[in-house]
Symmetry: D2
Subunit: 341 residues, 4 copies
């Protein structure tokens, strides 16, 4: 019956996360697409840009029919999203914001890292940080979900069980060596994202704690595991379209076997269908997870260093897939429903 | 004058390092190619495999005319090389061995890591480890040079100045997060090296101190900087044909400025034309060095962690280019002569 | 109800087409996977090779439980398939064979091109060539379907409407300039399929009417459009994992407008949900169709040459996707059901 | 001796062809770099952009010291080049223009295709079209050389011998199916040149005789082989950084053997060191020629269709390499001198 479908809208449907979400929503058995907005392409149909999609018309955000809409996904850049969200909530929709605007609970930290005062400070407290496996309960009643960044998702899923279990020496830095495909850089024009510049290349960037995902990771460690630790975060651009792999180095309080640590992870993620802790002799790779909402984790201990490899698809578990997983949780549906694998 | 040309031979000319060396030797102004061997392709000309190369005939190693040859480059796999080298030295040639067979000075360590007793133990002591920037003097008179592995080259160039300067806390592990293009895996058939498997993928392997380059790095730290330190080495395969980037995490004894550490590196490598310490705001990338014999280094300090990014071309500075640089040093030529940039 | 599910088996589940089919079958709403065979990986679970797949055990083909199975997909190489198919049919299953073994109706042509006498000549006449858009009716009752090759699928979909309409000058050759990603070469080891050899390369092969898809295309032209024409077929390997694009040059009997020809195509494919004839100013590309079962066609006329660009995903519309589309037609289901887009 | 060095300048040194030329000139034994200009990067050194290059300062074009300069390479976009060239010639330099501005001898054709009246019509007649293998003699005394486009170079080298020999049926169209790497699209920002858009994609463009290289190819056929023929030209973007492969379909007047046609090509290109006509069983590929100034040609005849595959590196034989080859010819040097292989 039409009556029991969730009416969902997308604001900002033609960026990489927006398109991905569109594809997912179109085949979700309990969702009906209410609208899709795009300022640049408004008036065009989806099929005009993507011939195998349908004739849904892209409209301006201000023309979006908000009445009767159950949930709106906001796929705008940060700074733009916080201007849009209050209006959507006021119209009665629940909102899943894929930008960074509602991820940082402390508005002064937000200002420091994003360079502008937050325009909806009152909503910051209400927003639920949507790392699905750690916020299941809060998501159920959430009106506003801040969907996590891709690096924080891969990192937190890979380190939290060890921090929760208290096996990490928090006096030493947590080293995150992260590798991302180019779609993570978005669809806006830049020389570094050009094929000739990125192909056959490998480029670290934002080394040394200056990347905006650092405070988000720190907040996650604090909230979910009550841990404060120095974060050394080194992201690299790798010549692939999608996929992300974080190699995580955690100093252990004392030596432990690979197996003992792996069991901590297996227990933590039992009952979480998207998280796969691989057998001892396998290492997580991008091919394990690309075009799925899964996270593959592999565990190795050498001396007192725990090495966790965490692989996700940056556009799915790192963005639109997790957003849909969150929608499922918000509306009491099965967590996996309609999330492509 | 022909008389003053160095007569050089290549044993194993049709693997990736052999071909690369061939191209370099052909345009080196002081070298005359004496022979090139290939067991599989013997009887064929170079041009039959590579139409733009010349009519040089590939011969069997046993047919190589060793009289009057000044230097032989051995581009065979490990285990095969140690059977060939004594014969070449006995014929009066100097030898640059690109395999791993003469890199490890301690024959019991060799046996442990390479699974077989060394067949030329007496030559192990004589062999000079050819990390050019650290062995200039010894190379001059060397009869046998063990050309370093690609990961050890990128790593040692990136960490040695800090260890020499005594700023590293050797009580904590040295973390090496290494990324390599596929040519590092060589030309033998394997599913993992197939385009469909490697493309759009990112795969860690040999995690946890089990890669054969670990004892080679440890030996280099010991020999050049008198340092013993736990090594955590995580190599990754990245979808590019050539290029290697090592992100190196060194725990400092005490906090230091990025600039102070960078100056240590600049002083150490002054007068070394192939090593580039980048300005403070630049990060080393594969495009900086690919198809050159250069090593680009960038330095960042965060808290008490020194992050060095070291980029090389795995087939040049990580193999054939450094071999030719070593030949130049052995024969008293300019270090850069004929080494492509 | 379980009762109304189609019980489907896969013989040869670990090649690229087999894996693709597995993924599709697992989410098809009317299919229940009965078994999946693999001689090399028997005894292992799917999850052991693909961590995000399930615990289905791979078995030997001879152990496959054929009773009660409705349909078996054969994903073996040619020559191997014809030995397996009769046994499957005898057990009462309908068979969709993805190999070339039952595509060529004339057994002497088969022998000439595949180098061996056909072992099941009597089945050749019965087999229905499964170019879905041209065999809808025959597929309904088919017991054995010969699923078309990738190049013939892209080519025939792109040229048949013009031949059917009688606008092509059959006295001149039909030129097919075809480009395929590497997955088309399959999963067996070969140097040419290695990343280092295929990446940053572009290689024509089997030029001049010697590729085995030539007689298959000729037969399709004869059967569907009663046309005999000289075929000039030039395939190229292109560095992409999946995707195929054929640029087709058809000599017209007389000059025509792009629009007139495009309308012939639009009419022919009205009611065929997977075929998209693009608007006049758009050209078909791999991104239009990759990871879908669609075929994008674009039409341009210059003078008396009709240029049709036909793009498909070689593993979907060119193999496993079309196989599933054919299964839907055979069992009276909606053509698009469970065929991923 | 410094005295006998050719003093060369580059206008527009930071586009892809400019950088390539810089690398070549720096190692050419008879060239001294007089200046390199860049409007955007003026004031910076080469090393600031490319760490392994030297400290040459980039200057504004108007500040270039033209006195005593022997030759200037103009690496500007079309429309910009024609404003610069007269000034350089007036200062006494010989000019090699890599843009399209002086390639089309007929100013009305230029206006039709490039959308603006030519600003230096008087120079159009003087300019020598620099397809090296066909203009050796004219290049010797040329003051202004119009360096050919990449597609015309690959095409003309591949078709001219057959047209000269009179074996082509000029009543039927010449079909050129061309594939180019992304560097051919230049360094300016565009979504289509983004990694995510171009990777794993294959896109035809400018189908149907509307590409600006069509009149250039037509003019070359007219000038060098006195042939007028309809040209059907279909370029495709392929996901590789550099390299170009044109598959050329020529209708023969009468059937001929592959060998007979190949011999026509071998004779034509005897004494031309950069052109390689491959043996009968080999097909030209991008790997044969990438990063060289070579052109690999392979010949196959099927019925009355001659298929020539022509492969070049678009930035070398298709731009900067041929420019340097032309400089060698202009100054009476060996054709191959300093042209990388």
């Amino acid at each position: 019956m039409e009556a029991c479908l969730i009416k969902a809208g997308i604001v900002g449907a033609t960026g990489y996360t927006g398109i991905e979400l569109l594809r997912l929503l179109r085949r979700h058995p309990k969702v009906e697409l209410a609208f899709a907005t795009s300022e640049q392409s408004r008036g065009q149909t989806l099929a005009e840009t993507f011939p195998t999609l349908d004739e849904t018309k892209l409209i301006a955000a201000l023309d979006a029919p908000l009445q009767d809409v159950d949930v709106v996904f906001v796929c705008l850049p940060h700074l733009a999203a916080m201007g849009e969200v209050p209006r959507l909530l006021a119209a009665g929709a629940r909102v899943i914001d894929l930008s960074a605007d509602f991820r940082i609970a402390d508005s002064s930290v937000y200002k420091e890292w994003y360079g502008r005062s937050h325009e909806a400070v009152d909503l910051l407290r209400e927003a639920v940080y949507g790392l699905s496996e750690y916020s299941r309960r809060e998501l159920r009643c959430a009106r506003l979900v801040a969907n996590p960044g891709c690096y924080p998702t891969a990192t937190l899923l890979g380190v939290l069980p060890a921090f929760e279990a208290g096996v990490v020496d928090t006096g030493l830095p947590l080293i995150i060596d992260a590798k991302s495909g180019l779609s993570g850089a978005g669809r806006s024009l830049s020389l570094g994202a050009h094929f000739v510049e990125a192909n056959e290349n490998l480029t670290p960037y934002s080394i040394g704690g200056v990347h905006r995902h650092v405070p988000e990771i720190a907040q996650g460690l604090q909230n979910y595991a009550k841990s404060a630790v120095e974060i050394v975060f080194t992201p690299h651009l790798v010549p692939l379209t999608r996929g992300m792999l974080c190699t995580l180095y955690l100093p252990l309080k004392q030596p432990a076997s690979t197996n003992a640590i792996a069991n901590i992870y297996r227990e933590r993620y039992a009952g979480h269908p998207f998280i796969h802790v691989l057998p001892a002799d396998r290492h997580a790779s991008v091919h394990h997870v690309v075009r799925t909402n899964h996270c593959a984790l592999s565990i190795t201990v050498v001396g007192r260093t725990l090495i966790v490899v965490s692989a996700i698809d940056n556009l799915l578990k790192g963005a639109s897939g997790q957003a849909l997983q969150n929608m499922n949780l918000m509306f009491g549906l099965g967590e996996e429903l309609g999330v492509i694998d």
